[in-house]
């Protein structure tokens, strides 16, 4: 027992939850001690969120029991959970932008009086902030707050309702490093005040930094609970995946060649007067991965869509292998050797109800190899699909099942197979590992580095700093639609990137030479 842990406050015993076709939680036991920060880690689909939703009363378990402070409880809804002192901060904020911090916090729990004295409530909330060291103005309108501040509002909401046990679902996923540091300070203050925190994450570095104990879930089962001080990243990852994991990707050192993708002064109009992408310029060379880092919603999506011909830029040029291609359609760009891994594979990458083989030829269905004047050449399509299945290790039972039947990792492999198999020159990979488990992420990263090693130009957009830093050779940071800095990946720290990402700092002149 570490000094910070007290008596056990939450105990889950033999929790089982089945969904059609899946056992999300399989006889899971978990003990959380009062006053500790307890991390729950596991890959996507390991059952972390399900387990927490059971504790918060959003799901009823099929079997098992929940004990709180030693008493068996039946938690039949979030209302009951709140009454028992359990609060949950969801990954996606549930705030009303037009309301102030105070109004948002009391929403649903307004003081039961005829006249709402917001000033009095505001004072109370101000006290809460001071007690836990939260920097937040109770009177501020939520729409004006940063993501980190909004998250603090969510945490305050839970505290206001009198929670002793706080569940935080992937709280760092939306934050930049500086905000993560501040969140961790807040969590430590809460812990010092005797609160218990259950922290769901799959980012092992953070877990090791903040947690006292770590419980690992794998495929719905509890693998074990370890003390954070007595384990390391490698051991945790192995517990999560069930096999040793490579962390250091082998970047091939290729002398960068010609500029294959040249974006110059690209501007994309937004809804208001300010453009969403403002005069973005960068060059990506053959054999290079150029990373675009930035907090989501700073124009990355629009930038990529403008390059891909999916959105009309109002100014600037895009050149592929020296040829101007601004304004060409996505189909024409493909013929110029541009491949595209979209950020939202369900929206832009796949036609979910169509079969796997049909998705494997999407966009290439009119290639002479796949189609003849008389119609689709099913023989050659099927042999291509089978080849892709082997080469990209797509785990599937039947090629004519709809692609929606595949797991996220295998769906991404379908996209990789399609985009990489037609010898592209330039690859645009947008959030390529989003929502994927460690194994699939590894695979995607390997493919990207292989492409880089083979002399392709890769433009990588990712909200995951670790991903950008480990894959890219150079990094451009976007803030408010502008590229505010360009840095060599091996000469920059996450903290420094964080400063650029939040707009606290910007480069005065051109970045590193391409």
């Amino acid at each position: 027992m570490t000094p910070s842990t007290g008596a056990e406050i939450v105990k889950l015993e033999g929790i089982t939850k089945r969904f059609p076709g899946v056992v999300a939680n399989d006889r899971v036991d978990l003990t959380v001690n009062a006053g500790e920060i307890h991390a729950i880690v596991g890959e996507n689909g390991a059952g972390k969120s399900t387990l927490m939703k059971i504790l918060y009363g959003l799901y009823r378990p099929d079997a098992g029991s929940i004990y709180l402070r030693g008493t068996k409880q039946s938690i039949d809804g979030p209302g009951r959970a709140v009454a028992l002192g359990i609060g949950m901060v969801h990954q996606h904020f549930m705030l009303i932008p037009a309301f102030t911090v105070t109004e948002n916090i009391i929403l649903g729990h307004e003081p039961n009086r005829a006249i709402l004295n917001l000033k009095q409530v505001g004072t109370h909330i101000g006290e809460l902030c001071r007690r836990y060291g939260f920097t937040l103005d109770p009177g501020a309108c939520v729409a004006t707050l940063s993501v980190g501040e909004q998250q603090r509002v969510e945490i305050l909401k839970v505290l206001y309702r009198g929670a002793d046990v706080l569940i935080l679902d992937e709280p760092t996923a939306v934050l930049v490093p500086q905000e993560v540091a501040e969140l961790f300070n807040n969590l430590r203050a809460l812990k010092a005040a005797g609160k218990t925190i259950i922290f769901i994450s799959h980012k092992l570095d953070e877990v090791l930094e903040i947690a006292d104990r770590v419980s690992v879930l794998r495929q719905g089962r509890m693998v074990g609970t370890v003390e954070a001080a007595r384990t390391d990243k490698r051991a945790l990852a192995e517990m999560m995946v069930g096999r040793p994991v490579l962390f250091n990707l082998a970047k091939t050192d290729v002398a960068p060649g010609d500029v294959l993708l040249d974006v110059e002064g690209l501007t994309v109009p937004g809804r208001g007067a300010r453009p969403v992408v403002n005069a973005a310029s960068f060059k990506v060379r053959a054999g290079e991965v150029y990373g675009i880092a930035g907090v989501e919603g700073n124009g990355q999506t629009e930038l990529i869509e403008a390059i891909m011909g999916l959105r009309k830029p109002s100014g600037g040029t895009v050149r592929l292998q020296g040829q101007p291609v601004t304004g060409l359609t996505p189909g024409e760009l493909r013929r110029h050797g541009l491949a595209f891994i979209p950020e939202d594979r369900h929206k832009r990458g796949l036609v979910l109800p169509m079969t796997i083989w049909e998705n494997l030829i999407l966009g290439f269905h009119r290639d002479p190899g796949f189609s003849r004047p008389s119609g689709l050449n099913l023989n050659s399509i099927m042999s291509h699909a089978n080849e892709m299945k082997k080469r990209f290790d797509i785990r599937l039972s039947r090629l004519d099942n709809p692609v929606l039947a595949l797991s996220g990792g295998n769906q991404q492999k379908v996209i990789l197979a399609r985009e990489f198999s037609h010898d592209p020159k330039v690859i645009i990979a947008s959030q390529p590992s989003r929502g994927l488990d460690i194994g699939a992420t590894e695979f995607v990263h390997q493919q990207i580095l292989e492409a880089q090693g083979a002399g392709k130009a890769v433009l990588l957009v990712s909200a995951d700093l670790e991903e950008v830093m480990s894959l890219a050779n150079r990094i451009g940071v976007v803030y408010n639609g502008e590229i505010v800095a360009e840095l060599a990946a091996d000469q920059v720290t996450p903290q420094e990137l964080g400063l650029y990402m939040t707009g606290s700092k910007r480069q005065s002149r051109e970045g590193v030479p391409a």
Partner: protein, 402 residues
């Protein structure tokens, strides 16, 4: 139809789903036992829904004091026990096949062309004009010309809503419904004023009134009946029922459309755009262009709807020319799950119901409206049943993959 139903409607059709596996391309049934089970289930669905609708119909018949078993027996006996009934069913199904195909192809790409009615009227007008205006042409030139004219008419009337949809984002349901009214009035004016046949000899000694119709269509543009063809098989249809070669054209068209949808890049693009226009666009498919083209194809097929009545039966276009086929086509497409062969079955079912309704009205004293109610319940229950089954199959397939 909400978009929750469209992925289901877009999935493999019931009778013969797309067959990528080698065995499936040759044989009719898939080799995989699970796929075979799903296929059986999908085929059973409409029949179960029809049974359910018949049950509701039975309740109504009981309520008006009729024995449903007797009525259904009469309906079947009248419809299938008489050769003229069989011929009538085929004749009535013919325009519905075209109307159903026109709707189905537009539904396939998530466009709800409610304007098949108007497009078919304009098609009939152009066909009629070409049919009476050209004289002395041989049939093998005149008849194809008339058919092309009908398609051009349908395309013309589909062009505006297609253009507005793709370029201006005007919802096609609104524009096509409005254009149906415009078409109805326009056709009325064209028949009653512009092209009125004034050469009609009215009654004996000037008594009676002339028909409000266009001039008679030239014999060279009339479509022959299929009586001779069926006679080869020992089936002798009575001469007063006009089963004609458009039935054959409709079936052939269904086969062509089936092939286009499932086996050509063009059909592949229709399905991709229908089920995820964003992904299709990112893959280089011009979604708007594909919608536009498909809309026009739908209009072209819609133009053919009136031809069976015009060229085989009446021989002229008058203001009482049969209406409502375009709307029946919507129901037929729904019944057929937007599958071309399903449309044929749906059209035949409608033909049977309308003939059977006449039978029970005359011989059982049950108002034909009761059959209309059954028809309505049937459409509703089939649509619901399809959705249930496709959701079930989706869940099963997902389970299997995990």
């Amino acid at each position: 139809m909400s978009d929750t139903t469209t992925p289901a409607a877009g999935r493999s059709p019931a009778p013969a789903s797309p067959a990528p596996g080698k065995g499936r391309r040759l044989g009719l049934l898939p080799a995989d036992p699970q796929a075979r089970r799903f296929l059986r289930l999908q085929i059973a669905t409409p029949f179960l829904a029809i049974l359910f609708a018949s049950f509701i119909g039975s309740l109504i018949m009981l309520a008006i004091g009729k024995n449903p078993l007797d009525v259904y027996f009469e309906m079947f006996a009248f419809s299938f026990g008489r050769i003229d009934s069989v011929a009538t069913i085929l004749f009535r199904a013919t325009p519905l096949i075209f109307a159903g195909l026109a709707c189905a192809i537009s539904f396939r790409i998530n466009l709800f062309n409610i304007g098949v009615e108007g497009q078919s009227l304009i098609g009939a007008v152009l066909a009629s004009i070409v049919g009476f205006a050209f004289k002395g042409l041989p049939a093998y030139i005149h008849l194809p010309l008339v058919i092309i004219a009908a398609m051009v008419g349908g395309v013309l009337w589909a062009w505006l809503p297609a253009y507005l949809k793709v370029k201006r984002g005007v919802h096609e349901v609104i524009s096509t419904i409005m254009l149906n009214y415009v078409a109805a009035s326009l056709v009325h004016w064209l028949i009653a004023d512009v092209f009125l046949d004034k050469s009609q000899v009215v009654g004996v000694g000037g008594m009676g009134s002339p028909r409000v119709r266009m001039p008679l269509i030239q014999p060279s543009a009339r479509i022959p009946t299929m009586h001779g063809f069926f006679a080869h098989f020992g089936i002798n249809f009575p001469s007063y029922v006009y089963v004609n070669w458009l039935l054959f054209v409709g079936i052939a068209l269904a086969a062509v459309l089936y092939y286009v949808i499932w086996r050509t890049p063009f059909g592949y693009e229709i399905r991709a755009v229908a089920q995820n226009p964003d992904a299709a666009e990112a893959a280089g498919i011009n979604a708007r262009r594909q919608m536009f083209r498909t809309f026009l194809i739908s209009g072209a097929i819609a133009g053919l709807v009136g031809l069976s009545d015009l060229l085989a039966f009446f021989g002229y276009l008058d203001i009482d020319f049969p209406r409502g086929r375009g709307f029946d086509g919507i129901a037929v497409a729904l019944l057929g799950k937007n599958d071309p062969f399903g449309v044929i079955l749906g059209a035949l079912l409608f033909g049977f119901l309308s003939r059977g309704a006449e039978g029970v009205q005359v011989f059982s004293g049950v108002p034909a409206e009761v059959i209309t109610i059954i028809q309505g319940v049937m459409i509703l229950s089939i649509v619901v049943a399809y959705e249930i089954v496709s959701r079930y199959i989706r869940v099963q397939k997902k389970k299997e993959a995990q």
